[in-house]
C-alpha cells in the first residue's frame, strides 16, 4: 500500500481554505442517522465529540476514567499557542507555522502544520466564548507569555492550569450535548478492539471496567483520541492510566504507526527520589521564562546551592545558546542537562539533577516593584519580599507543588530538576484528513503523529488537540461520511462483532489464567528501565539491538508468569493494567526498531553516532526526510513504509538556537 497524505494541491496558505470549500457535506437529516464513536475525552476527544454532536451526528463518547473531565489534558500547565499577534511583536500565521516546523526539526508535514497555525486563532476565540478564564491584563484584554523555541509572546494561559481550564471548557460543551441527547457518554469503559467490516472501521469492543462486561458498539466512523504512549517508560509525566491500548489495537488491525521513536523528554521535571517512584511531575516550561538553569563549575561539588558563589556557577544554556538562553526548545535543554550530569556536574543526592534558580528573578521583580512604590532606598530584604510576591502571583501553584513533593522551599533554595518523558510526537499515521490507513478510523491529538515532527514546542499540544477536535474533524469527517449516508446501522450481532468480542474475551481469559508469581507493576517497571536506558534521551545502535532482545524476553516472561488477582467479571484495576502493559511490551519493541532504523539524530530522537562536534543533533536529510510508517505483520514483525516529506516553502537547515 502506498501512503497518500492527501495534502491538497495549491499554495500552502490556501490549501485548507480550498479543502473546506470543496469537501463534501452531509445534510442535517442524514447526519441524524450517522453514528460516530469517539474514544478518549481529552482535549481532542471532548472537543470532537461536542462539535460533532452540535452538528447533529449521533455520537458515543468513551473514556476509561470516571468522568470525561479527568483526561490527562487536564494536567497541562503552561499554555496554548495561537498566532493572534495581540502583543504586536511580529507574530503571524506564517511565523507560528515556521517555528513549529523548525522546532520539529523538519520532520513534520508542511500542509498540516500550516493548517494548525491557521486555526490556532479560532481556538482562543472559541474557548473565550465558552467562558475559559484566561489570564488578562488590567485593560481587560488577554495576556500572553513566551515559551521555548520562540521569540514572540503568543502563549495564552490560565495561571499554571491552562490544560485544566481548556478541558473543562470542552467538557462542558460535551456535557451540554449529553444533556441534549446528541452524545451518549460511556465512562469507566476501555476500548479493546476495533471492529472492521469490509475493510472499514465499523465499531469497537469496549469493556465496562466496573462490571467487566464486554460491549459491542457500532459506528459509521471511529475516532481515536486516546493520547500518547509515554507510559511505556513506566516513569513519565503522564497520568497513571494513560496508555497505548486503543491505538495499539488499531495498529494491529491495519493502522500504520508513524514515527514511534519520537519521544519528548521534558527538561524541567522533579527528579526521581527513589525506587518507589510511581510517576514524575513536570514543572511547567513557563518557569524557564524567569528561572535560570545552572550547575556548579566544579565537578562533584557537594556544597549547598546557596553556598556556591555566583562566579562558580555555570549557566550552561546561556553559555551555549546566547540567542535563546534558557528558552531553547525542550530537546536541546534536556540533552544539555544530561550532558552536564553525565560529565559529573549534577547536583542533589542522586547527582542526576540541575538547578532551576529564581533568585535573580526575585531580585529583578523586587526592584521593579520597589520602583513602582517609590521606595528608593529599599533594603535587600524588602526587595526580596516584594519580588517573592510577584513570583508567587505568576508561579505560586507550581512552587507549592514543588514544595509538597520535595519538602524544599523554592523561594529560598533553587529547585532541582531533571528531564523526564513527557509527550510522544509519534502515533498512528494519519493523512491530511486525520484518517489512519484503515478507512473510517481516525486519530486526533497526541494519538496521531502528524504535526510536531521530531520535537514538539511548548504550548503546542493543547493547540493541536483542540485544532483537530474543534476545527479539522468537523470538515474532514463529513467528507468521508457523505459516502456513508446509505449505510444502515449495522446490528451488533454481525459476525465481525461476534468474532472481535471473542478475541477480546480470549485475551482476557488468557491473562487471567496465567496465575504466575510476578505483579503487573514489576513487569512495567522493568520495561520502563530498558526503554529509558536504551531508547531514552540518547540512543545507539548497539543499545537498541540489546533492548529489542530484552523486551522480547520480558514479554515472554510476562505471558508465562504474570499474576492478576481477582476476577475478570468485576472492577479489577490490576486486569486493566495488565492489558495495557501487555500492549506496551509490544510497542516498546517497535519504538526500538524505529529508532534503530533512523540512522540520524533529529529533535527528540538523538542517536549518539550522529552528532556535530558541538554535540548537537545531526540530521541526514538525504536519507531520512521521511515519515516512518510501520505496518503490523505479526509477532515482532513490522514492515516499513515511507512517506517522503517535501518542503516547498521552508528550507531545512541545521537548527540553530545560538
Amino acid at each position: 500500500m502506498t501512503l497518500n497524505s492527501k495534502t491538497p494541491e495549491g499554495p500552502l496558505g490556501s490549501k485548507w481554505e480550498d479543502y473546506k470549500s470543496k469537501c463534501r457535506l452531509v445534510n442535517p437529516a442524514n447526519k441524524r442517522h450517522l453514528e460516530v464513536i469517539v474514544v478518549g475525552t481529552g482535549l481532542a476527544g471532548a472537543s470532537a465529540a461536542a462539535s460533532l454532536g452540535e452538528m447533529g451526528y449521533k455520537v458515543k463518547a468513551f473514556c476509561f476514567q470516571d468522568s470525561p473531565r479527568r483526561a490527562h489534558s487536564i494536567a497541562a500547565q503552561g499554555g496554548i499557542n495561537a498566532a493572534k499577534n495581540y502583543q504586536n511583536d511580529g507574530d503571524s500565521t506564517y511565523r507560528l507555522f515556521y517555528d513549529t516546523i523548525k522546532g520539529g526539526d523538519y520532520r513534520a508535514r508542511e500542509g498540516n502544520v500550516h493548517r494548525l497555525a491557521e486555526v490556532s486563532a479560532n481556538i482562543i476565540d472559541q474557548c473565550v466564548a465558552q467562558g475559559v478564564p484566561f489570564a488578562r491584563e488590567y485593560g481587560g484584554l488577554l495576556s500572553n507569555r513566551s515559551f521555548g523555541g520562540v521569540q514572540v509572546q503568543r502563549t495564552f494561559y490560565a495561571a499554571g492550569q491552562t490544560g485544566q481550564q481548556l478541558l473543562i471548557g470542552a467538557y462542558q460543551a460535551l456535557e451540554r450535548q449529553v444533556a441534549l441527547g446528541n452524545v451518549k457518554e460511556y465512562t469507566r469503559h476501555e476500548m479493546l478492539e476495533v471492529v472492521k467490516i469490509d475493510g472499514k472501521a465499523r465499531g469497537i469492543i469496549a469493556r465496562n471496567l466496573v462490571t467487566g462486561e464486554l460491549e459491542r458498539h457500532f459506528g459509521h466512523a471511529v475516532l481515536l483520541c486516546t493520547g500518547g504512549y509515554g507510559n511505556v517508560f513506566y516513569l513519565s509525566t503522564n497520568a497513571m492510566g494513560s496508555n497505548v491500548t486503543a491505538a495499539w489495537k488499531a495498529h494491529k488491525n491495519g493502522a500504520y504507526f508513524g514515527n514511534p521513536c519520537y519521544t519528548q523528554i521534558h527538561p524541567t521535571c522533579i527528579p526521581v527520589s527513589g525506587d518507589h517512584q510511581s510517576k514524575l511531575t513536570l514543572m511547567s516550561e513557563s518557569l524557564r521564562n524567569d528561572g535560570r538553569i545552572w550547575v556548579p563549575k566544579k565537578q562533584n561539588d557537594s556544597r549547598k546551592a546557596n553556598d556556591i558563589p555566583e562566579e562558580e556557577r555555570d549557566y550552561y544554556l546561556e553559555r551555549r545558546y546566547p540567542a535563546f538562553g534558557n528558552l531553547v526548545p525542550r530537546d536541546v535543554a534536556s540533552r544539555a542537562a544530561k550532558e552536564r550530569c553525565d560529565a559529573g556536574y549534577g547536583v542533589g543526592a542522586s547527582k542526576q539533577a540541575v538547578y532551576l534558580d529564581y533568585a535573580s528573578a526575585i531580585e529583578r521583580y523586587g526592584n521593579s516593584e520597589a520602583n513602582k512604590l517609590g521606595l528608593d532606598n529599599a533594603g535587600a530584604d524588602k526587595i526580596k519580599e516584594l519580588g517573592k510576591e510577584v513570583v508567587k502571583a505568576k508561579y505560586g501553584n507550581l512552587f507549592e507543588m514543588y514544595e509538597k513533593i520535595t519538602g524544599e522551599n523554592p523561594y529560598e533554595v533553587p529547585m532541582r530538576i531533571y528531564p523526564a518523558v513527557h509527550y510522544t510526537m509519534g502515533g498512528l499515521w494519519v493523512d491530511y484528513e486525520l484518517m489512519t490507513t484503515v478507512p473510517g478510523l481516525y486519530a486526533l491529538g497526541e494519538a496521531n503523529f502528524s504535526d510536531h515532527g521530531a520535537n514538539r514546542l511548548g504550548a503546542s499540544a493543547l493547540m493541536q488537540g483542540l485544532a483537530d477536535g474543534y476545527f479539522v474533524i468537523p470538515y474532514t469527517l463529513g467528507n468521508y461520511l457523505a459516502d456513508e449516508i446509505r449505510t444502515k446501522s449495522i446490528v451488533t450481532d454481525h459476525e465481525a462483532f461476534v468474532q472481535a468480542e471473542n478475541e477480546v474475551r480470549g485475551r482476557i481469559e488468557k491473562l487471567m489464567s496465567i496465575k504466575g508469581k510476578q505483579s503487573v507493576e514489576s513487569f512495567h517497571k522493568r520495561l520502563g528501565k530498558i526503554m529509558w536506558n536504551k531508547c531514552g534521551m540518547a540512543r545507539n545502535a548497539e543499545g537498541l539491538k540489546e533492548a529489542v532482545q530484552e523486551i522480547q524476553a520480558l514479554r515472554k516472561e510476562f505471558w508465562e508468569d504474570v499474576f492478576i488477582p481477582g476476577d475478570a467479571m468485576e472492577f479489577n484495576p490490576e486486569l486493566d493494567k495488565a492489558g495495557r502493559v501487555a500492549d506496551f511490551l509490544e510497542l516498546g519493541e517497535l519504538m526500538c526498531l524505529d529508532a534503530l532504523n533512523r540512522n540520524e539524530s533529529c529533535g527528540g530522537h538523538f542517536r549518539e553516532e550522529y552528532q556535530t562536534e558541538e554535540g548537537e543533533a545531526l540530521r541526514q536529510d538525504d536519507q531520512y526526510m521521511y515519515v516512518a510508517a510501520w505496518e503490523y505483520k505479526g509477532d515482532s514483525s513490522f514492515e516499513l513504509h515511507k512517506e517522503d516529506l517535501n518542503y516547498d516553502v521552508v528550507k531545512p537547515t541545521q537548527r540553530s538556537y545560538k
Binding site: 487536564i74 473565550v128 466564548a129 478564564p133 456535557e175 449529553v178 465512562t187 507543588m401 488477582p565 468485576e570
Partner: protein, 258 residues
C-alpha cells in the same frame, strides 16, 4: 530535609461491591520512605498483597499531580488527609512517623455509591454540569477573543471558582453530604463572565434542581467543605449561588427566566 523510613498500621475499608457490606481490614507496611507520596505507600501495600496472592485495595487515582480530581480517600477522618489545599496524591509520607496508625475510608455520601473498596461513583457531578454548567455556544460561532474586555478582577475571580477539580471532597466533608460548594463554584465561574450572563438564571435554578434530585443534602453553612477543599474554593461561591438563585426565583424560576 532528613529522609527516614517508617513502619505503619493501616486500617482500610474493604467492600467487594455496592451490594455487599464492607468492613475495616488491618494491614502493616514496613520500610515506607518519608519521600513517598501517600498513594505510593498504597502501591507498596498493594504489591505486598499481590505477592501474597491476595486482592489489592481498589482506589481511584490518575494524574498523581493534584489536578485531575480522580483520587479520593478519607484519611484519619479528613477527605484528602491532613495537608491544607492538597489532594491525596500530593500528600507525602513525611507527614507521618514510625508506628503511626492511619485509617482510610472512601468518600461517603448517598449520591456517591461505593464501587469497590475506596472507589466511589461520582457521576452525579457530571449530571449537575449537564443541567446547565456551560455556555451554550456551538463551535465556530465565536467572535474575536479580545472583542469583549473583561475586568481583570472578574476574570481572576472566575478563574478562582473554575479551579474546582470536581473531586467531591466537599461532599465527603459535609455532614449533610451537600454538593453546594461544587455546584456554586460552577455557577460562580460562569456568572462572573459576560459570556455566562445570558443563561445565568436558568443555569442556577436547573443545577440546584439536579443537585437535589441526585440526593445531595442541603447546605447549613458549616464550612467543612471550604476547609477540606484541595483547591481552596471559597464559601463566597455559595453566597453567590444563593444570590443568583434568589434573583432567578424572584424572576419566576427556570421557566420564565429566559
Amino acid at each position: 530535609m532528613e529522609h527516614y523510613n517508617m513502619s505503619l498500621t493501616l486500617k482500610v475499608w474493604r467492600q467487594k461491591n455496592n451490594k455487599e457490606q464492607g468492613k475495616f481490614e488491618t494491614y502493616s507496611v514496613k520500610d515506607i520512605s518519608s519521600e513517598m507520596s501517600f498513594l505510593e505507600m498504597f502501591d507498596v501495600l498493594n504489591e505486598q498483597l499481590i505477592a501474597e496472592q491476595k486482592e489489592p485495595i481498589a482506589f481511584d487515582h490518575d494524574c498523581r499531580e493534584g489536578i485531575c480530581g480522580m483520587c479520593s480517600m478519607v484519611i484519619n477522618g479528613r477527605p484528602h488527609g491532613p495537608w491544607h489545599h492538597t489532594t491525596t496524591c500530593q500528600l507525602h509520607m513525611r507527614e507521618y512517623k514510625n508506628g503511626d496508625t492511619i485509617v482510610v475510608e472512601p468518600f461517603r455520601a448517598d449520591a456517591f455509591p461505593v464501587i469497590k473498596d475506596l472507589a466511589v461513583d461520582r457521576t452525579a457531578f457530571d449530571r449537575i454540569i449537564q443541567a446547565g454548567g456551560y455556555v451554550s455556544v456551538n463551535t465556530g460561532n465565536a467572535v474575536d477573543a479580545n472583542s469583549i474586555p473583561i475586568e481583570k478582577h472578574s476574570a481572576d475571580e472566575a478563574f478562582a471558582s473554575a479551579a474546582c477539580i470536581g473531586c467531591g471532597a466537599c461532599v465527603a466533608a459535609c455532614p449533610n453530604a451537600s454538593a453546594m460548594l461544587f455546584t456554586s463554584a460552577k455557577v460562580s465561574h460562569l456568572a462572573m463572565l459576560p459570556q455566562g450572563a445570558p443563561e445565568r438564571k436558568t443555569r442556577v435554578v436547573d443545577m440546584v434542581e439536579q443537585m437535589d434530585k441526585e440526593g445531595f443534602g442541603g447546605c447549613t453553612n458549616i464550612g467543612a467543605c471550604e476547609a477540606e477543599c484541595p483547591k481552596g474554593i471559597s464559601l463566597e461561591n455559595i453566597a453567590r449561588l444563593n444570590r443568583e438563585y434568589m434573583g432567578a426565583m424572584l424572576d419566576g424560576g427556570s421557566q420564565n427566566a429566559v
